[in-house]
Amino acid sequence: MKNQHINPVEPYLRMDRMPHIWCPGCGIGIVVNCFVRALNQSGIDPDLVSIISGIGCTGRIAGYLKLDSFHTTHGRPIPFATGLKVARPELKVLVFSGEGDLVSIGGNHLIHAARRNSDIKVFCVNNFTYAMTGGQVGPTAPIHSIATTTPYGSYDRPFNLPFLADSTGAVYVARWTTYHVRQLTRSMVEAINKPGFCFVEIIAPCPTIYQRRNRLGDGLEAMRYYKRYSRVINGANTRMVGLELKGPIIVGKFIDRDRSTLLEAMNEEFSSKLGARYQPYPTGVVR
């Protein structure tokens, strides 16, 4: 980008809502920064973008972006997004939320949206804990990690999110950490421009709670860790990318395939059965 003398991010933020609520060193701010740059690069008219969030620290993203934005209920941004997309296929409908929101309470919606290839893009910030409520164990928390509700260590198996999204039908699956800002931004651009259900996991530090409680250092320490322990394996078998406490982090673009979106599939089916009686519904997809 040229002419960097004004902050390119500001026009997309609700500056009248600053300062934001996030802690110093929190990874969510980096995610917002990457997203805004991605939106800029994607060439999409921001007026045609809607942001949907659920509840939690990441759920507050919708409120800070100067776009049509919806801060919905806990776990439900995905079905809200499906409803909006189906109503207005020409819009880009993007979901930003945390792993507790999207994968625990909202897990059923995640797998069904992936299955039916709802044409929405899900950016899931995974910080391994329910940060907003003070650090309870989350559905991706590594075994042995400490949370307020696992004071002796977590012992139930965490979800491997890329594998979950892949196996339920997502057409685009990537994972990056907040250290990988360029790659993350590129993945966001690709997801925004790709028809179908796209899932990007973003490993992000929560220094205030998760990092501290698990003696993983501050935000900067997290970045050093991500730098040292991440391995980029594009096209990796998602079955193999599960995470462990203090273990390596496999990042990359894992899945990029094509399949009819929900509305395209609907049109194909109805047109074949109903013929001229069926007026194809707009899909918002240009192939």
Binding site: P46, D47, A81, G83, L84, V86, L91, N108, H112, M266
Partner: protein
């Protein structure tokens, strides 16, 4: 404004209440629906799935009732008129999103074809046990509108009306059917499109940058901007100011929630819909709604044959309750007999309004069947 003729099946039909409800929704302009099967409401989504694709609409069977009840809200902000359909257990799951719709002033229609409860209860048999849930089932203070049709014809007419109220007040409207009304087949006359009055939400005027999505307009209802047109507004279930931004303060809470209540309470007379039968000279008034309002007509007939001056008062819109009219009646009648397919729900509202001026007697029934009109008559006779 008249209805879009594409969706209107003008003519005389034999339809059950569930199917008539679907036709009402389409006639009202509903073009997006989301649902999940549950007896005895399934026939509504089945017909929606059959009909909507042929009129330019879209239906998605969602993974559960929670998803359905929020997918409609996404579609509503996308500019569509929307509906979801369920019965008791599903309604319990949808309740959080009734609250979200009330808080974010999202026009949407929920249909509850009531069956016996609690829990799985009597899936194939009628009850009216969800009336207080409809009114209070989500947390916090809010107001909704609830309508109780008593025939397939009304399932058509009142579904159109439900959409209109929902659009006018930007509020969730609950159509409180029951298994009997849903599954009874009767003649339904669907008028010509231009004879069907259809309302749509008011859109904002003025510069987009100055738009305040939650500033009260006419009737305390804010105009509603559609997404994708550069307004770049924010909507949240958190307590919010007129700009839509979250503010955690008692003042903003009071300002917002009071308006959400007042836009219904102060317009209660506009929303009220009452049907009365032989009320002029009545000493004892039967109060009933939905299917039960048909059962009490038989009681009325039997009572009049015996020379008893009985009348019927039927709130067609049950919430907000038509308080003013009932209070007028309480000044001159001798007793109210409330008949409902539950163990005492709407009777509490009647008692509150009557305020002890005259006796209020309940004729309860647990559901699974309808009242016997003669049993009701015995209670009426005792009320004398």
């Amino acid at each position: 404004m008249g209805a879009d003729p594409q969706g209107v099946l003008t003519g005389v039909h034999f339809l059950d209440g569930d199917h008539a409800c679907c036709e009402g929704a389409i006639a009202a302009g509903c073009r997006a629906a989301f649902g999940y099967p549950i007896t005895p409401s399934t026939e509504i989504v089945e017909r929606i799935a059959l009909r909507l694709p042929l009129v330019g609409g879209v239906f998605v069977q969602m993974e559960d009732e929670i998803a359905s009840s929020i997918a409609i809200q996404g579609a509503a902000w996308g500019g569509k008129k929307v509906i979801t359909v369920t019965s008791g257990p599903g309604m319990s799951l949808m309740m959080e999103h009734v609250g979200l719709a009330a808080m974010t002033e999202t026009p949407c229609v929920f249909v509850n074809v009531q069956r016996g409860g609690p829990s799985t209860g009597l899936p194939t048999l009628p009850a009216q046990g969800d009336m207080m849930q409809a009114r209070w089932g989500s947390h916090g203070d809010y107001e909704i509108i609830a309508i109780s049709p008593n025939s397939p014809q009304e399932c058509f007419d009142l579904t159109v009306h439900a959409f209109n109220l929902s659009e006018r007040y930007r509020v969730p409207v609950l159509i409180m059917m029951d298994e009997s009304v849903g599954h009874m087949t009767e003649r339904v006359t669907i008028p010509h499109a231009e004879q069907i009055e259809v309302e749509s939400r008011r859109l904002p005027e003025g510069p987009k940058e100055e738009y305040l999505p939650f500033a009260p307009g006419e009737n305390l209802v804010p105009p509603m901007a559609p997404v994708g047109e550069g307004y770049r507004f924010h909507v949240t279930g958190l307590t919010h100011n007129e700009k839509g931004y979250p503010v955690m303060s008692p003042d903003v809470q009071d300002h917002l929630v009071r308006r959400l209540l007042d836009k219904i309470r102060l317009n209660a007379e506009d929303i009220a819909m009452v049907e009365e039968d032989q009320i002029q000279d009545a000493d004892v008034v039967l109060v009933a709604y939905g299917i039960t309002s048909r059962v009490v007509l038989r009681t009325l007939h039997l009572a009049r044959e015996k020379g008893l001056k009985v009348g019927v008062f039927r709130p067609v819109v049950v919430w907000p309750f038509p308080e003013k009219r009932l209070r007028e009646l309480a000044e001159r009648v001798k007793a109210f007999v409330v008949v409902e397919l539950n163990y005492g729900q709407v009777v509490l509202e009647v008692e509150r309004i009557v305020g002890g001026r005259v006796p209020t007697v309940l004729v309860p029934h647990g559901g699974g069947a309808l009242h016997n009109p003669e049993d009701i008559l015995r209670v009426v006779e005792e009320a004398w």
